[in-house]
Amino acid sequence: MPSRRFTRPRAAAVVVAAAALLLAACTSGGTSPGQESAEPVAGGTLTYASGDAEPSCLDPHVGGNYPQALIATQYLESLVSLDEDGEVVPWLATEWSESDDGMAWEFRLRDDVTFTDGTPFDAEAVAANIAHVQDPATASSTGYLALAKIQEVVAVEDHLVRLELSAPDSALLESLSQVWVAMESPKALERSQEENCAAPVGTGPFVVDRWDRQESVTLVRNDGYTSPPADVEVPEGATLPYLDGIVWRFIPDSASRYAALQSGEVQVIDNAQPDTIVSAGDDQAIVELDAPRPGASNRIELNSGKAPFDDERVREAFIRSVDVEAGIESLFFGTAERSYSPLSSVEPLGLSEPDLFTVDTDAAARLLDEAGWTERDDEGYRVKAGERLTLDFPVSTNQSIPAEQSLFEQVQADAKTAGFEVRLHPLDLSSWYGALAENDYDLVSAPYTKVGPDVLRILYHSDSITPAPSGYFANLAQVDDPELDDLLTRAAATSRDDERASLYEQAQRIILDGSYILPLYDQQNHFLHSSSVHGLRAMPTVSTPTFAGAWLAS
C-alpha cells in the first residue's frame, strides 16, 4: 500500500475554481447594437478578423501575396490609385507623363508627405523602394514581376522622378497602383529584413505598433496622415483616419470567425463563406461588402500541353459536358455569379462569351467520337486504344474554399456521364505546386490577382510555359499560339487606349474559342461587418478593404 500520508482531495479545490471561472464568465455581457448616426464619429478601436494565413512578413515587397496586401493597405500607400471606374488617379504622385517612345515615365510627387518615422517622401524614396523590390535579397515575387520593365530610376528633382524602361509598358500605372509595390520609408528599409518585416514604415492612415505572432497585429492611428488617394473626399473639418486604431486578428476557422463577429468580439471579417453570407443576410446587425478581386477570373484550366487535352475537340467536349451553372447555384447560394471570361468582372476590358459554355452533351459525345474516344469500358468511361479517358485534377485545399471543392466534385460527376474519368487530388499548397511542376495535371484551378488585363500576358503568353527554376509557370493551360503571343506583346507595348482594348479583346477571343479554360466566377472576396462600422470601402485597385475613412458608431 502506498504512503498513508493523506491530503484533502485537491480535485475538490479544482472543481471550485472551475465553477468560479464559469460564474465569472456569466457576468460578462454581450454588446448592444450601435446607434445609427450620419456624422462620422472619431475614436474607437476596431477589430478585424482575417481568415487568411498570417503573413510571414508585414512588408508586401517581401514575397507578395494577398494576406499581406490586406493588412499593408492600412499602413502603406502607392504612387497612384484607381477610382471606381478603373481610371488611374493621383495618390503619392500628383501627375505623370509618358515619353513619346514609351521608354520613360516621369512622375511629379507630392511634396507635403512624410513617412511615419519622419523621413520625407521624395524622388530618392521612390528610387529606394524600386531598388528594394528589385533586389534579389528582398525575395519579392509579385512586386518584382510588376516592376520587371523598370531599368533605371532617376531622381530628376526633389519631387520629380523618372522611370526608364527596357520596353514600353502599357500596364505600368496599373502595376504601380498595387500595394505590393507601395512606398516605404527608405530609412526603415535600411534595417534588417527581420526588423522591417515586423514593422514596415509607410505614409498610410495607420502605423504598425506591435505584432504578437498568431494573435494579432496592433495598428495605431497615424496622427500626421495627409495623403488619401485623389478619389477620396474628406468631409470639411474632418481629419482622417477616424479610428484610433485597428486590432488585426487571424482566425483561420470560418465558423469561429463568424461566431466572433456575431458575438461582437470582432467588427469585420474577411473570407466569408457562402453559407455564412446567406445566414448573415437575415441578421440586421451584419452588413456584407462584396469586392471581387481584379485580374483573372477563377477558372478551370485545361492543360493543352499533353494528351488528351492537346486535342481541341476533347477540350471542347469536356467544357460542353459539365453544368457549372447548376453547381454554382446550389453550392454558392447566389453569392457568386457565373463568369464567361478569362478576366474578372471588375476589369473593364474583360470579354464575356456565354454561348461558348452552354451545356450540350450530344455535341460532346460527337466530338469525343471524332477524336477517336469511341469505346466505353465496363465502368462507362471512354476508351481509345486501350487507354481510359482520364483527367488528373490536383486541387489546392489552401486556395479552393469548401464550396469550390464541392463544385469540382459536381464537375467530376457530370464529366463521368460524358465518359471522362476525373481524378480529384486534394493537396496542400506545396504538394500542389509540386504536381504542377511535374506537369502532373490535366485540369487545374489557380487564382491570379493583378490589376489590369496585362494578367493575360502572364497567364497565356507562351513564355510563361517555360518553367521558372522552381518548376512553376503561370501558363497552366499551356496555351502556345504565336498569334496570341503577338497580340499580348503588342497590347503590353501600345500607348493607345483603343488599340490596347481591341488587342486584348482579340486575345481573349482566342483563349475562349480555343476551349483552353472553363471560367467559373470572379475571385470571391466577401467581407462581413457589424452595422456599427461605417465608411468601409474596398480599394478599386486590388479590392483590399481600407479603413482610412471608416468609423465606429458609438
Binding site: E54, S56, A148, Q214, S256, A259, D428, S430, Y433
Partner: protein
C-alpha cells in the same frame, strides 16, 4: 544503488535517441513530400516567384546543396544547441517557439486539470448512483473519448457563444479565453482517464480495505474520495506523459479553431509552408517534454512502488 544509476543512464540515453529519431524522421518526411520550399518561402498563394528570387532563396537557406549535406549541417547545428532560422517567420526558431510555448503549456495544464475534474466528478457520481448511473457514466466516457476535437469545439462555440453569449468564441486576453479551448481538449481526455480509472475503481471497491472502511461506518462518499479513488487514480496518473502528448496534438486543431496562440498552430502553418527547421524545432520541443514527463513519472513510480524496481532490473 548502482542498479538505479544504470537504469537512469539507460533512460537518459533513450531520451537522446528519441530526440535524434524525431529530428531525423521529421527532416526527411518533410523533404519526401512533393513541393518546393523556395516557392513556399516566397509567399505561397497568389504570388508567383521570379527565377532570380528563387535562386537567391535557395542559396540563402542552403536548399541548393545535397540533402545529405543539409541533414548533417542541420544535425551539427542541433548538437551545438542552435535550432536554426525559421524561413517562414524570418526569425530564429528558438525565439519563435519561445513566443508560443507559454500559451500551449497554459492550455495543456488547464485542460489536464479540467479533465481530472470531469473524470473524478463523473466517477464520484456514478459510483454513488448504483447500477444505472454506472452504466450511464461508462457510456458517457465512451462517447467523450470518441468525440473529435473540431466537432466538439464547434458545438461548444455554438452553445456558449452564439446561443448563450457567455463565453468568447475566440481567445481573448485573460482567463475567460482559455475556458472553451481547455474544455474542448479536456472532454475527450476525461473520457480516457475515466475509462482507465473505472476498471481499477471496480477492483478497489471489492477490496478488503473498502469493506473495512464500510464496517467502520464511513459514508460511501468518504470511502470514494479517501480510498477507492486514490487506488483507481494510480494507473491514470501514469498516463500523464501520454496525456501530454495527446494534448499537444489536440492543440493543433483547438488553437486553430479558437484562434489561440500556441505551438500547435505554429506547427500546422510550418508544415504547410515546408518550414523544415521550424517543424523539427517544435517536434523536438514536444518530444523533449514528452520523454521528460514519462521519465519523471517512471522515476516517481520506482520510488513509490518497489514492485516496478524489481521488474526494471
Amino acid at each position: 544503488m548502482p542498479g538505479t544509476r544504470r537504469w537512469l543512464l539507460l533512460r537518459a540515453g533513450g531520451v537522446l535517441f528519441v530526440l535524434w529519431a524525431s529530428a531525423t524522421i521529421t527532416f526527411f518526411a518533410l523533404r519526401l513530400v512533393p513541393g518546393d520550399p523556395a516557392e513556399a518561402i516566397l509567399g505561397g498563394p497568389g504570388s508567383q516567384a521570379g527565377p532570380e528570387a528563387l535562386e537567391q532563396v535557395r542559396r540563402e537557406y542552403g536548399l541548393d546543396r545535397p540533402l545529405a549535406v543539409q541533414y548533417l549541417t542541420y544535425l551539427g547545428r542541433l548538437v551545438s544547441g542552435d535550432l536554426g532560422q525559421s524561413y517562414s517567420l524570418h526569425k530564429p526558431v528558438a525565439t519563435a517557439i519561445g513566443e508560443q510555448l507559454g500559451a500551449t503549456l497554459t492550455l495543456a495544464v488547464c485542460a489536464l486539470a479540467l479533465a481530472w475534474v470531469l473524470a473524478c466528478a463523473l466517477a464520484a457520481w456514478s459510483v454513488r448512483g448504483g447500477r444505472v448511473a454506472w452504466a450511464i457514466g461508462s457510456g458517457l466516457e465512451l462517447v467523450a473519448a470518441a468525440v473529435p476535437h473540431f466537432w466538439l469545439a464547434t458545438v461548444l462555440i455554438l452553445l456558449f457563444s452564439t446561443t448563450l453569449g457567455i463565453l468568447p468564441p475566440v481567445s481573448v486576453p485573460g482567463p475567460l479565453g482559455v475556458v472553451l479551448p481547455a474544455l474542448t481538449l479536456a472532454v475527450p481526455l476525461a473520457g480516457f482517464l475515466g475509462q482507465v480509472m473505472r476498471e481499477s475503481l471496480l477492483t478497489a471497491m471489492e477490496s478488503p480495505f473498502v469493506t473495512t472502511a464500510r464496517a467502520r461506518g464511513e459514508s460511501e462518499v468518504r470511502i470514494f474520495w479517501r480510498h477507492t479513488l486514490r487506488h483507481a487514480a494510480i494507473p491514470a496518473v501514469g498516463l500523464s506523459g501520454w496525456a501530454f502528448g495527446s494534448l499537444i496534438s489536440g492543440a493543433v486543431v483547438v488553437e486553430a479553431v479558437f484562434a489561440r496562440q500556441g505551438l500547435g498552430r505554429s506547427l500546422l502553418s510550418a508544415v504547410q509552408l515546408r518550414d523544415v527547421t521550424l517543424v523539427t524545432g517544435i517536434v523536438l520541443v514536444v518530444a523533449l517534454a514528452y520523454t521528460v514527463m514519462t521519465l519523471v513519472t517512471d522515476v516517481a513510480d520506482r520510488l513509490v512502488d518497489p514492485r516496478t524496481r524489481a521488474v526494471a532490473r
